[in-house]
């Protein structure tokens, strides 16, 4: 006999899940979009951006870390949650220095795409305008710390997949920041390389491949064409990454 299919209810719609899946995994499998930035299906869930906050049986939880369990009643696409997501996105914008028209990642950037999705028209909050450096030392990559949103995808990719531990976080609170694993703190003094997983996971324009940044014209890029709700992120970006010269 087939075991009874396990389901959760997401905004009134019953969807199945496999044991071990999080709410985010189940939603993605059912092609339902829950806004997210630090989640990536290939890595251990992190739960830091909080964009995926949903309501599970009356409690707020992050969909990317919460295991799916039979019978959960989940609210995702509500006015309140989406307003909070807009505010969280605005917080990320004011925390760093995000000048989209001047950023090579524009059109391929998940932060920007999510901002479109949640209807963000301005950054609303007071900009922090932090002073942050640029690290152009590596022959193939440039890191612009001004755009880092601390999602730690590069940290996870380098640690868990590349086994290189090139990135880490130091500092605390609003002073938390990405650091690089070399005595000089420069990327050129690490073994970071073009084929690294960590070179392809950054959702924003913080880790950028040199000399390939304008091969696809602005206006023809991933999220210039379609909403992130439809095309999603990582998988498509990987396809995009190939197009921008991964091989």
């Amino acid at each position: 006999m087939q075991p009874e299919e396990q389901t959760i209810t997401l905004d009134g719609q019953k969807i199945p899940f496999q044991p071990g899946q999080t709410i985010m995994d189940a939603a993605l499998a059912a092609k339902i979009y829950i806004p997210h930035l630090c989640y990536h299906p290939e890595f251990k869930p992190h739960g830091s951006c909080r964009l995926c906050t949903v309501m599970v049986n009356g409690r707020y939880e992050s969909a990317c870390t919460m295991p799916a369990a039979a019978g959960q009643e989940i609210l995702n696409n509500t006015k309140e949650l989406n307003e909070n997501r807009r505010a969280l996105t605005q917080m990320l914008f004011v925390e760093g220095n995000h000048i989209c028209p001047g950023c090579p990642k524009t059109g391929n950037c998940q932060l920007q795409a999510v901002a479109y999705y949640v209807g963000m028209l301005s950054s609303h909050y007071q900009h922090f305008y932090p002073y942050r450096d640029l690290d152009p030392s590596h022959p193939d990559y440039v890191i612009d710390f001004n755009r880092c949103i601390l999602c730690e995808l590069c940290v996870r990719a380098s640690r868990d997949v590349d086994k290189k531990n090139i990135f880490a976080i130091s500092g605390r609170g609003i002073k938390a920041h990405l650091i690089i694993n070399s005595p000089s703190g420069k990327l050129e003094d690490t073994d970071f390389a073009v084929g690294d997983k960590a070179a392809f996971v950054c959702p924003v324009g913080a880790i950028l491949r040199k000399r390939t940044r304008y091969t696809t014209p602005i206006g023809e890029r991933l999220y210039d064409q379609q909403s992130i709700r439809i095309v999603g992120d990582s998988q498509q970006l990987h396809a995009g990454a190939t197009k921008y010269g991964r091989k």
């Binding site: 909080r50 909050y125 130091s170 500092g171």
Partner: protein, 597 residues
């Protein structure tokens, strides 16, 4: 401070890592050792740790960079921190600090040119019943006055070692004002363990269950349930952790228990260890209580000698348990058990994701019981006297007694042990508080009560508390309180999640905007919305409670904000063009009329 050469640093790190058996879980402890020897943690030390422990350099740097007591540049030979809690603010801390800064000619946070002294702020050091207080090279000095600071300045200028300072400077009072079952009769050492061994572990756990004891750290989880969960989780090893991080502003009851009732606390831990089957325990002692480290080590040594700790406890061949003290390094978030365990493992104190919970996967992913200091002390009492007496006290859902740390505007600050169910009004009367405007219960993260609510009761079902009670009379400006808490949370956010990392700073800036008379009605709306986002979207309890003080005061004391608003404007930009031009004026050296708006 002379520069220390690389070989010396490397040798130092070699010795330290060796003495900790090269265990990466001891990284925070090892960093403490470096800092104590060199006054800071030089980059070369980070390199050496990485090399010797075979850890990524950035990992070590990330850990060192997390804790506020660790520094990457030299500190003064005398490193001073003034406790920056609101209670001490109201006791004159800002004036005293300015006085010492001027007297010693130092700037906040910067070592004096001759390397003699640094003066800085730190979050509440658990002395608000005897403040203003400060730490000097980690050691607590209480009841500061101008006269005391004159003397201290002299001792510093003459380079008198701390060991030659007047001992009364370092005296910390218990200030116990009201005793009940916990603080009453002293318990014969080892009695709880003996009674438990005679009664059996199952029956002892049943007594704790019967007592209704709930955790005293704030969340109020049933202690017996927690222990049973841990015991019933299949594993080859289990751990007991006593949470002595006591970082909530205004609380100091755990400090008193550790100072004068340490045996009771260790006894409770040992009873727990036997029940759940643990062989190793930890006391996570906040760095601010550095002065308690040696006395507590001495109590542990004494207990080992008495056969109450170590191998074959009280002659039982299969009962071994010992306790290690882990010293925190200045991080309020490490009181949250999911962060505490990370810190115990030698990592950054960023709270883990749950599930799994510590009772099934805690320290080193083994089942772990984490309880508050007071919880263990009560458990030891219950192990001796049984659960009935305890359960007879308190209310339906909150049994027994609670320790309150009372400070602020009252005649008799200190420790009060009351049965649960006591009303706020009774508490205020007991400590001699008059003309009270507001009471902040459970610290900066807690609830702000207005006079209308003073008949509410201290109990999990009404006003829950970890034990901090801060009293503000009608002369006080509550916006000062809000400001102080807003700064506290900016300083203490671990920075992991967006709402707390960014939201606490946004709130602080908005509070400052209102405080300086530039706020508008729109700013108050923003404050409410950000508060609600922190509460609902933050990863851990810190962020989820970091805006309570703002939400509470906006609701209960709106006039505190309103009287400062720019009445004519809905909106006033936070960006002030003229002050932004100041930087350009400084660079160009222009002071002519056209350089101003």
């Amino acid at each position: 401070m002379s520069t220390i050469d690389m070989t010396t640093i490397h040798t130092t790190v070699q010795e330290i890592t060796h003495s900790y058996a090269y265990q990466a879980t001891e990284l925070v402890q090892m960093l403490w050792q470096v800092q104590e020897k060199l006054s800071y943690i030089p980059t070369a030390a980070i390199d050496s740790f990485a090399e010797i422990l075979k850890l990524p350099r950035a990992y070590v740097a990330g850990v060192a960079g997390f804790y506020s007591f660790f520094h990457d540049s030299p500190r003064g030979q005398y490193d001073i921190y003034f406790s920056d809690n609101i209670i001490e603010h109201l006791q004159g801390k800002p004036q005293l600090m300015d006085y010492l800064l001027q007297k010693l000619k130092v700037e906040i946070g910067k070592p004096r040119a001759d390397g003699r002294v640094t003066i800085d702020n730190t979050a509440c050091i658990g002395m608000s019943d005897q403040g203003p207080a400060m730490l000097v090279n980690g050691y607590t000095v209480t009841q500061l006055t101008q006269a005391k600071l004159d003397k201290i300045a002299e001792l510093i200028e003459t380079q008198t070692p701390l060991s030659h300072w007047p001992t009364e400077f370092f005296q910390v009072q218990d200030n116990i004002q009201h005793k009940h079952i916990l603080l009453g009769e002293p318990l014969e050492e080892g009695l709880a363990i003996r009674v438990m061994l005679a009664r059996g572990t199952d029956a002892t756990l049943a007594e704790i269950e019967k007592s209704g004891l709930r955790g005293c750290g704030g969340a109020g989880f049933k202690t017996a349930t927690k222990w049973a969960f841990c015991r019933n989780t299949h594993a080859d090893e289990r751990y007991v952790v006593c949470n002595a991080d006591e970082g909530e502003p205004g609380t100091f009851k755990d400090r008193v228990l550790l100072q004068s009732y340490a045996d009771l606390v260790f006894e409770g831990m040992t009873v727990c260890a036997r029940i759940i089957g643990a062989h190793q325990g930890f006391l996570y002692l906040r760095g601010e209580y550095r002065y308690l480290l040696q006395p507590l080590e001495a109590v542990l040594a004494k207990r080992r000698e008495q056969g109450l700790l170590g191998e074959q406890i009280l002659g039982n061949p299969n009962f071994s348990f010992d306790i290690k003290i882990h010293l925190g390094a200045g991080a309020y978030v490490c009181g949250a058990e999911l962060a505490l365990i990370e810190s115990l493992e030698g990592k950054r104190g960023v709270p883990r994701n749950r599930p799994p919970f510590p009772v099934t996967q805690g320290y080193l992913n083994k089942p772990t019981v984490v309880n508050n200091v007071e919880t263990f002390a009560l458990a030891a009492r219950i192990a001796v006297y049984g659960g009935d007496g305890f359960a007879a006290l308190g209310t339906k859902q909150s049994k027994g007694t609670k320790l309150l740390s009372i400070s602020g505007d009252c005649l008799r600050p200190g420790i009060y042990e009351f049965p649960f169910g006591v009303s706020v009004r009774e508490v205020l009367e007991a400590c001699g508080a008059q003309d009270t405007q507001a009471v902040q219960i459970s610290g900066a993260a807690g609830t702000c009560l207005s006079a209308k609510e003073f008949d509410r009761k201290i109990a999990f079902e009404d006003v829950a508390t970890g034990g901090s009670v801060m009293i503000f009379n009608r002369q006080r400006d509550l916006l000062e309180v809000v400001r102080n808490f807003a700064h506290f949370f900016v300083h203490e956010s671990c920075g992991f999640c967006t709402p707390c990392r960014v939201g606490t700073s946004l709130l602080k800036n908005l509070v400052e905007k209102v405080y300086t008379g530039h706020g508008t009605a729109d700013d108050l709306k923003d404050m409410s919305h950000i508060s609600q986002i922190l509460k609902t979207a933050s990863h851990c309890g810190l962020g989820q409670t970091a805006s309570n003080h703002i939400a509470d005061t906006l609701k209960k004391f709106p006039e505190v904000y309103r009287k400062r608003l720019l009445v004519e404007a809905d909106f006033e930009p936070a960006f002030d063009l003229d002050s932004a031009l100041e930087e350009a004026r400084q660079i160009t050296g222009r002071r002519d009329e056209l350089a101003y708006l």
